[in-house]
Amino acid sequence: MSGPFRFQNAGRTLQKELLSQWYGELSSANEEGVPVAYLFISGNVAELLRAFDFRLGYPEVNSLQCGIKKAAGPFILKAEDAGYSSDVCGYVKNDLGLLASGGKAPFGNLPRPDLLLCTYSGCTTYVKWFEALAEATGAPLVFLDVPYHRDPDAFASDRAYVVSQLEELIGVCEKITGKKFDETKLRGILDRSRRAEEAWTRILESARRRPSPFDAFFEAVFFMAPLYVLRGTEACVRFYETALAEIEERIAHGIGPLPEERFRVVVEGPPPWPHFRAFGELFRRWGVCAVASTYSKVGGLFDQGVRHDPDRPLESIAEHAIHCYTNWNLGLRRDLLERYVRDYSADALVIHSVKSCRSFSVGQADAREAFSHEKGIPTLFLESDLADPRYFSEAQMRNRIDAFFEALTHRRLAGAGAGGKP
């Protein structure tokens, strides 16, 4: 290695390598005779399935990849031709359209699933998605009912309920794979998950620094991918150790993702994948760094102390399933946003409201009222979609973003608010 930066881009480079390797293994699973399970990202129980050597596919990631590779449009239209309304989740339509087109995605071929495990942490549309997949593929559909984190009083019984279902799921997996459950193996997997989660949390928390060494939204969406698709593997641990080294190197040199950090924001909501780069540019030109985001918590609220634990295997899996962002009630979500604004010294809150995901978006407009009118936190409210390219208007988006940061600049110049806050 030459120069002072040994780890520059190490995270992104390794992330791409690992993801393409994962898709490769998934594409060939059917031919190799390895069982495939489909599951969701939010609060999934990947560790348990990994203990049975399932290869894991994630329909949400299919749609995400199509979105960012600008391939979503035709698949969505194909699903609409088949009768799906223009008003239902674009992620689901993308995936079903892809399946109906033979499962040939720009990143690999979708394998036929042997198990559809619907864990619907925080999203009831998941149920509809997997019911449609079951109809299309004929694969067995198994539900894992993860109660909404609605009331602290209900948590103990909710966790016990999920644990009981996990015990039943073990029986299902034994039947499908013909393998006996090996608790020691599961503990090893959980230990690797825990190590990756520790490192990821340190990366997330590094954004408390000023300047932040890390963009907790525009970079985090890439950095979080291995945790979501490879959690429990050695490769996943290696990725987070590498990514953390990259971040620490940035800290050592006092640099961040931007030439100059002018505004620090908390971002609520998913990105507009089909226009991800353009969306990011609109913020970058204002020197905006996201210092915390909620989208990076949909797979688990690790920064809030959630950890897989080899000493409490099923209990910790159940806790992780319950504690993912969209499964938290709106009161907890608002409190978390407020803590992020405070603990990460943010100047503003940016809410990106997407039509596809009611789980995220219903309540955001009400939260804006609370934040901007009651709590005095400058709040920018933007609307488009995470999956459907038709809902993004760059000109309109630019106008709103420009107007917002101009206003923040004026407030800052006028010296409103103490402590450097606009």
Binding site: D151, D158, S164, K355
Partner: protein, 423 residues
């Protein structure tokens, strides 16, 4: 109500005027008139009156679909099923707090709250049906801190051995919250009484639907809706008396002329379509012999087991005997099987899907259900509705074409392929 011809139909929406309770010698017209005045009164006047007569007792709103009214009744409260604004209110405040891509009932229910129309309520229960309703519970908690706002997580893994126990625990948790708010305990007897009253009431509703299936000329779907909807603001016993009297009178009523096709109306299990839509279906030649309207009032297909552990019986009833819909999750029953069974039960010539715009669960199920019907040779027609839609002409044309095609080419009534399995 008579079937009015096109053009001279009076407005379906009437101003709320509370009539006296049904008397044993009430006429059918009198009953329907009173129910029309009660049905869908967005200011819940009848509930305020009930509260005045029952000082200290709770009035608890129930968001659709699967909310156990018995728990409210067991603490001496009045369950008040909520059905949104029904097109009778303007959205003035809710627009700022809810995006435009959310279904009408979610938005208008928030408006009902923000405009003070839910002031008669002490609380609202939101059962786990969809993400919009779930998040509405969080919006309610923030905006109406004096209300008891409870989110009920219904067990959604029917295949699990622990589902009944979990459901029982969740009902018990909810009951505890109601007891704390009411300041009184619900005894096993209170619960058992509520279950028995609920069973009796549901039996009357089933009789009403049986009458519509067997003798549809006696009552229109619109009248049937009004009759049931009035029950949203009446105590169960009073509404049961109303239904009982109506069921006594209906068989004696003159039958309307019938050159219509028998239709199952499907998809409006939560948000209710504008009544003009029901009228349009009838005017266009449909005899609606089955529907999933107002499902929240009648989601149990069989009586709840009386005796033994009442909370366990309620949980079991939800898991085993609740009518399937797009928002009953994690079931082991096939959706295709359920709709074919409904078609066969009401001997429908076809299915009209009326799905609330932006209702994701309904719109997703529509695709799968329509495919099943197509394969079974059952004709169907699908359209979306909103609470505040104003134009019905395009729907009228579609329905008329559907009816004509069935009358012309339908010939024999299609028999769903699996219908033979039923006893």
């Amino acid at each position: 109500m008579t079937v009015h011809g096109r053009g001279n139909r009076p407005p379906v929406v009437t101003e709320p005027t509370l009539g006296p309770p049904v008397s044993p010698d009430a006429t059918l017209d009198g009953i329907l008139e009173r129910c029309r005045s009660l049905a869908g009164d967005p200011s819940l006047e009848a509930v305020s009156r009930w509260k005045g007569e029952h000082p200290g007792a709770l009035a608890i709103g129930l968001f659709p679909v699967y909310a156990p009214a018995e728990l409210v009744e067991a603490v001496g409260g009045l369950p008040v099923p909520l059905r949104g604004g029904g097109g009778r209110i303007e959205l003035e405040r809710a627009d700022a707090r809810m995006q435009s891509f959310v279904c009408s009932i979610t938005r208008s229910t928030l408006e009902l709250g923000l405009s003070g129309r839910l002031a008669a309520l002490d609380g609202v229960i939101f059962p786990s049906i969809c993400d919009a309703a779930r998040n509405l519970s969080g919006i309610f908690r923030r905006n109406f801190p004096s209300l008891l706002v409870e989110y009920l997580h219904l067990p959604s893994n029917a295949a699990s051995r622990v589902a009944v126990d979990y459901g029982r625990g969740e009902f018990s948790r909810l009951l505890g919250k109601l007891e704390a708010r009411a300041g009184r305990r619900a005894t096993e007897e209170d619960l058992a009484r509520a279950i028995v009253a609920g069973n009796e009431h549901r039996d009357l509703v089933r009789r009403l639907y049986a009458l519509r299936r067997e003798d549809p000329g006696r009552i229109s779907s619109l009248e049937s809706w009004v009759l049931l909807r009035a029950g949203d603001v009446l105590p169960r016993g009073e509404h049961a008396a109303t239904l009982r009297r109506a069921l006594d009178l209906l068989p004696r009523r003159a039958t309307r002329p019938r050159d219509r096709i028998r239709v199952l109306l499907h998809g409006a299990f939560c948000e209710q379509p504008p009544l003009e839509l029901l009228a349009t279906l009838e005017e266009a030649g449909c005899e609606v012999v089955g529907d999933d309207l107002l499902l929240g009032t009648r989601w149990l297909r069989a009586p709840v087991r009386a005796g033994g552990d009442p909370l366990g019986a309620l949980a079991e009833a939800y898991l085993r005997d609740s009518t399937p819909s797009a928002v009953r999750h994690g079931t082991t029953e096939s959706k295709g099987e359920a709709i074919l069974e409904a078609v066969s039960r009401c001997r429908a010539d076809g299915v009209v899907f009326a799905t609330a715009k932006f209702c994701e669960p309904g719109l997703f199920d529509l695709v799968l259900e329509k495919r099943v019907l197509d394969r079974a040779g059952v004709p169907s027609l699908a359209f979306e509705f909103e609470e505040r839609m104003g134009a019905f002409e395009s729907i009228r044309t579609q329905v008329e074409t559907f009816v004509e095609s069935l009358l012309l080419f339908g010939g024999e009534r299609p028999v769903p392929e699996r219908a033979g399995r039923r006893p």
